[in-house]
Structure formats: structure tokens, C-alpha cells
Symmetry: C2
Amino acid sequence: MSAALPPGPYLVLDAGVCEQAGHDPLDVVDAAAHAGLGVVQLRAKDRDVRALLDLTVAAAGRLTRFVGPPALVVDDRVDVVLAARRRGARVDGVHLGQSDLPAVDARRLLGVGTLIGVSAARDEDVDAALRTGVVDYLGAGPVRATPTKPDAADPIGLDGLAEVARRSTLPVVAIGGLTVEDAEPVRLAGAVGMAVVSAVCAHAAPYAAATELVAAWARARSHAASAS
Amino acid sequence: MSAALPPGPYLVLDAGVCEQAGHDPLDVVDAAAHAGLGVVQLRAKDRDVRALLDLTVAAAGRLTRFVGPPALVVDDRVDVVLAARRRGARVDGVHLGQSDLPAVDARRLLGVGTLIGVSAARDEDVDAALRTGVVDYLGAGPVRATPTKPDAADPIGLDGLAEVARRSTLPVVAIGGLTVEDAEPVRLAGAVGMAVVSAVCAHAAPYAAATELVAAWARARSHAASAS
């Protein structure tokens, strides 16, 4: 492990979902930062890698105006992180799916101090990620089926999430069809973060939605508290 | 420009096309090297980036047994080139489509001495590539429609190829549905290289096909010779 995952709500900012809801993705970046989210992951599955690179550089530019901004993480593409950094952007990490570049290769290219997350749903994914010794957190899901990722695997449910959290010595972020109502069950399942896409990007008021997520997370009972 | 394109036949080794024809892609790498091809570009559009990375490392391993091996180029992915190099593989370059990472960013990440090619069919693609000052060669096409890239743009024909070659101050490699019969018309159109996929990968005898391509290219009249 070489970088610490900020706990709490985690925004997966999907450019296409934002725009379909009438939001400029960069305004959603601002909203997330103002609301105090710990992580913004940039995703642009419906467009090409140039668009993801441009979005990354522009989002990093927006975040320079904040003190203690969210960690900025890029979905999938290690080369986008590297290219954005060469353009002067501050990018904090990358999130890798099971078919993306292996975490060991990503760590070699990105260096220590970069946040590296890996998606893990099955026991063998969890164990493999732990074995690498270079992963900072696991993204566990989908907890529920979600329209923003129609090609995703079968949902693991809150029980599956709890199983990943029990098995993992790394921090676990829940993902997949989650809303503000899920903050407490997700925390009770042992996750230290909760990723949302539509709950912010597709909301009529992203700032209000992000603020409510932060508040709901803060007041929810957690696994650690209930266990002590 | 920072690396020189080896002229002549240029193999685009598509892993899926090789396997459909019953060939291990690594055996086709060997065949290309034995036949004296100047460039082998690795492509695996039907599989994930991990497979492309593994193929790249394995192909580079095969080529260590040759003196003066073909230049090894990876399709699309700058991060695969970087990761393969970190694994100790010798990778010579990358070929970028119009929706891949911009050449300027690729050059910053890959450094001088890396061969960078860009696909260019329209006048504006050619001009944009020339303006960057960091591109080593252009891939012009598709000259003809091709089953190995069904999503490709409309064919530009040999006339379109000649137009790109006239416009470009960089070396031009023709691509798209080309066979051994095209060596002379392609050279007369002003291209210094000819990329093939199926003509080698899907041939029953890849080594024989590659050898015949090298011979046909060598005996074909060229634009330079016919102009002098």
C-alpha cells in the first residue's frame, strides 16, 4: 500500500451520465469538491481516450482552487494518468478493473504515492489483489444492478459486500446502484467508502445530492462502531 | 521525428486473426522475423489490455533471438509499451489512431528513439500529424475495405494513398486490404511501406507469405525510381 484512501462517499463521475442529465461534468467536479467528497473518479466509457485525457486535465484544473480537494482518480487508463501529469495536472490515482492493466504494472509506472484501486467481487479477485502488495483499496460490487454499467457482473448484494470486507485487509469501497439510503447498511457491512454514479451525476442538483451523501455517511452507524 | 521507419512490408499482427487461422501469434512473429519484415505491429482488438501486454512481452522475448529483428510496435496503448518495457521487453514504438492518445502526449511519455506512427486518411489528419513535429510516419488508409477492421472509414483507394504521400513530408505506410499484388502500385503511389494483416496472419503459411511479400516489394518499381 502506498497511498491512503479517503473514506466516505466516493464519486464516480461519468461524463456521459452528467451530460445526459444536463450537467457540465466540470461543474459536477466543483459540486463534489464543495460538498467535501473524498474521491472523484473520472470515467468516460462512451467516448475516446482523448476526451478522458482532456476531462482529467480540466478537472484537475478546477480542483487547484480548493484546499484539501478530493483525490482525483482516473478509471482504467494508466496512460491517461501519466499524460495528464506530463501536462501539469495533479492526478492522484487510477482505478483498475479485472481486464485493465495489472496493478503491479500500474504501480511500477505510477510510482509510490499514487492511489491504486482494483475492482474485486469474487474471493479470488480479492485474494489476487491482496497478494500483489501494491493495491491501496478494493472496489467491491456491483452491490446492486445498475443502469450506468449494463455490462457489469451479477450483483453481490450487501451480503457479498460484507464477505469482501471480511476477507480483505485493504479498505473496501462499495459500488453499484447505491443511494443515500445505503450509507448505513454499507457502513455496517464493513465498507469504508461508498461509490455512487447516478446518485450525484444524474441528480437534478448534484451539489445538494453530494452534501446529503456526506451527511448521511457521517451520521450512519459503522461496522467498527457497532463491533466495539 | 525521432526514429526511422524501416521501409517495406509491415506486418500488423492481429492475435485474433492469427488464431482463427490456426496459428500461434508468436509463431507468426517468428515467421515475420525470419522473412525479414521491417516492422511487426501487435494488435489484439478482440481481447483485453492484459492479453495485449502479455503478447507484447512474449513477442519481444521471441525477437531477442534475432540479429536485426523487426521493429516491434504496439497498437493504440502507450501504457502497454511502458509496462512491457518495465517488464524488460524491448518495444520500439506505438501506432496511434485518431481517437487514441495524442502523439504529443505519447512522445512525452515514450521519449525520443521511440517510433510513433499515426493513422491519417484525410488531408486534415495529415496536416495535424505533420504539425505536431513528433510523428515518425503516417499509416494511410484503408486503401481498400477490409474484413479485419469492419469499423474502418471509407476506403481511400490508391488515388487517396498517392494524395496522402504527396501531401506528407513523413514516410507513408499504406494499409487496408492489401496483398502481395499491391506491392508495385503501392510503391508507385509513393508509399515507403505496406501494412498487411490477413495476407500473412490468415495465410495458411505465414512464413512463405511474408517471404513472398518481401520479394515482391524488392522487385516492384517505386515512385522514387520512376520519378528519377
